[in-house]
Amino acid sequence: MSQSTIWIILLVATVATFLFRYSFLWLAGYRQMPERLEHVLRFIPPAVLSAMTFPAILTPAVETADWHAPRLLAGILALIVMWKTRKSLQTLIWGMASLWLLRWLAV
């Protein structure tokens, strides 16, 4: 990707992101967020974050038809740790440690 393309992406994304954050602060007092819109927006984070996460965890296992693929097992462990503890640092440590351990055992 060329440097000018990167800057264009950066600037357009910056303007869009700023407008989302500024939107209702600017409208404050004049207009509230429509309930329907808020309802729809609330469903985007779980869907989009999941679509970011699953392929990285599942694709190696699907491609090799190996349900013991290290990334799958480490990913499941990380999901459990985050679900139970709600601590991102612990999730990261357990996930990476188990991945490295599984790789080392497989050698």
Binding site: T5, M33, R42, A47, S50, S88
Partner: protein, 236 residues
Amino acid sequence: MKLPKPFVSGMLASLPLVPGFVPFGILTGISAIQAGMSPLEAQASSLLLMSGASQIAAASMMVDHSPAFMVILAHVIINLRYMIYSAGLAVHKLELSPIKKALAAHVLIDQTYALSHIHYETHDLSAKERAQYYFGTAFPLWASWQLFTAVGIVSGSIVPQGWELDFAITLCFVSLLVPTLKSRPMILAAVVAGALSVPLASFPFRLGFFLATFCGVAAGLIADSWTKRALRRSHP
């Protein structure tokens, strides 16, 4: 110079969140460098956007040579949620000059909104103090985000491939994903989007990613309207 008291208590409230920013910021810097950004562009991303999830998503798309339009679309979809926080913060009517309002918008992230909202609900502050508290929560998070992105940028080129740090990025997404699963329809939205994203990953231009997200949101909304209708029927 003496800092206003609400500003200091805002800072103290957000300081415990800084350790969580360390790996996330570093990985954001590393992923930007590995996506082919120059150090300047990588740091500018953190300064201009300050949106970890979309910055990392954009970097991983650039690695896969997705078209620019798709990278922008990813930023937009992931950052749309800031409108909810914008509306949520507006309700509290902070005392802000036009410039401060723009600055407040710029540092509006999940953490600053959540901390301020909880604090306003439980403390009686003036409009001016509310604004001071808000900026107090933002400052340590803003500063640590810039600092740890920079650390990632510097270390981005020296981390060995064998460490599989791209998986650490996945784990960051896991830790962002889990707290969003607040109801069964939301879990369904995540499961549908996640399950579809795997077979659709081979679609060109990352279209599968957007299609999976769209289907997940639709499934969640449909399930949510069904459960509400069922509840109305059982409690007329």
